[in-house]
């Protein structure tokens, strides 16, 4: 994952956003939870840094590889 982009691992619905813009995260931190086929799938930070922009909102429908949020160093 380049440029600190966190993308959806698959099709589903955003059910929880665990960070706010500006928050400091470590690589591997859970940042968003997607629900797909009735399973909650944690999405983790691709690298350490500051959450720059959250592109989705809770309840949004996402497809595989859709941008969820960006992290800047």
């Amino acid at each position: 994952m380049k440029n600190g982009e966190v993308r959806s691992p698959g099709v589903g619905k955003v059910i929880e956003i665990l960070v706010t813009a500006g928050a400091q995260v470590a690589a591997g931190d859970e940042v968003i939870v997607i629900e797909s086929m009735k399973v909650e799938i944690p999405v983790t930070a691709s690298r350490a840094g500051r959450v720059e922009r959250i592109v989705v909102a809770t309840g949004d429908q996402v497809q595989a590889d859709d941008l969820l949020l960006t992290i800047s160093v």
């Binding site: 691992p9 698959g10 099709v11 086929m37 009735k38 399973v39 497809q63």
Partner: protein, 316 residues
């Protein structure tokens, strides 16, 4: 050539690199960093296979206890049935230690496939990965399943399937990808295979994709963990369909739906339905390895009658 043909200007790497073929198209199964690693991977891959279809896969002196019972297996499936878990960790606790050789990790990711050993005997392993689309089979995962089963069937590798299958992936993208066509091919591959089979139902078995978790025509065992949950439709979606009128005519449809779901949820138990679902046995998850090691001996007892080329021919 590409530029003349379709007007696309690309580099060699962009066209035929592992980025596109191991992580996109599925034309390449595994990628490694160096030539040495490539040879090591090929050597390991071949170690599970017989020299040709007239021979059987070779047992290695086992280096792991067939009676090993891992306590972690009791809690590896989360009590919250919506929570995902690390399926590769589960495999590591059950198969011969360090024997799992994964094939096609970055393609068709809802399904994990690979070769491994049980008490030294080579087997093919399939497992759903709930962290990838909940483990629901999509078109690439179905294609991966078809190819993998054909590989196992061709070379007489008994198959172990760890099942947590919510069904084929839903939604317009999945429909446009022709998921059901690829899915039916995978089902056909399962039913055409004549290798011994064992399914361990670790959690869900739903839908048409769930129906393809085993082949009842040959030596086929089914063990289920107490976390097992099966049927044609899960309660969450099924209630909406079956109680549609009841829910719609209620003053508070949402509350009525939740009420019906809670009532059915409380009744739900694998022990009530194991018999009608033809589950031979609900087992203590810790017994999985000992039971699979027992099964693999039976499987290899009947394999000598299976050697030779398969009648179905090659499915490219």
């Amino acid at each position: 050539m590409v530029e003349r043909g379709v007007g696309e200007v690309v580099t060699k790497e962009e066209l035929g690199g592992s980025q596109i073929h191991a992580r996109g198209s599925g034309a390449v199964d595994n990628e490694v960093e160096s030539e040495e690693e490539a040879f090591a991977a090929i050597r390991q891959f071949l170690s599970y296979l017989p020299q040709n279809v007239w021979q059987l896969p070779q047992r290695r002196p086992p280096d792991d206890d067939p009676h090993r019972r891992e306590e972690t297996l009791l809690s590896i499936i989360p009590r919250n049935k919506r929570r995902a878990y690390e399926v590769r960790r589960l495999l590591g606790l059950i198969l011969d230690r360090d024997s799992f050789f994964e094939i096609g990790r970055y393609f068709g990711r809802p399904l994990v496939t690979g070769l491994a050993r049980l008490d030294g005997y080579p087997v093919g392993v399939l497992a759903s990965d709930p962290l990838q689309g909940g483990g629901g089979l999509d078109a690439p995962a179905s294609e991966k399943m078809t190819r993998f089963i054909d590989l196992c069937d061709t070379f007489h590798l008994p198959c172990v399937n760890f099942v947590d299958q919510p069904g084929f992936l839903l939604g317009t993208v999945a429909e446009r990808a022709g998921t059901i066509r690829y899915g039916v091919r995978a089902l056909a591959a399962v039913y055409q295979a004549t290798v011994p089979w064992v399914s361990v139902i670790v959690r869900r078995v739903f839908g048409v994709a769930g129906a393809a978790h085993g082949n009842t025509q040959r030596l086929n065992f089914r063990y289920a963990w107490p976390s097992g949950n099966w049927g044609s439709l899960p309660i969450e979606g099924g209630v909406r369909a079956a109680y549609k009128r009841d829910i719609e005519s209620s003053p508070d449809p949402e509350a009525r739906r939740r009420e019906i779901e809670a009532k059915l949820d409380a009744l739900q138990s694998p022990f009530r339905t194991a018999e009608v679902f033809d589950i031979e046995e609900i087992i203590d998850p810790r017994d999985t390895r000992p039971l699979l090691c027992e099964w693999v001996h039976m499987a290899y007892d009947i394999l000598p009658s299976e050697v030779g080329p398969k009648r179905r021919g090659c499915r490219p």
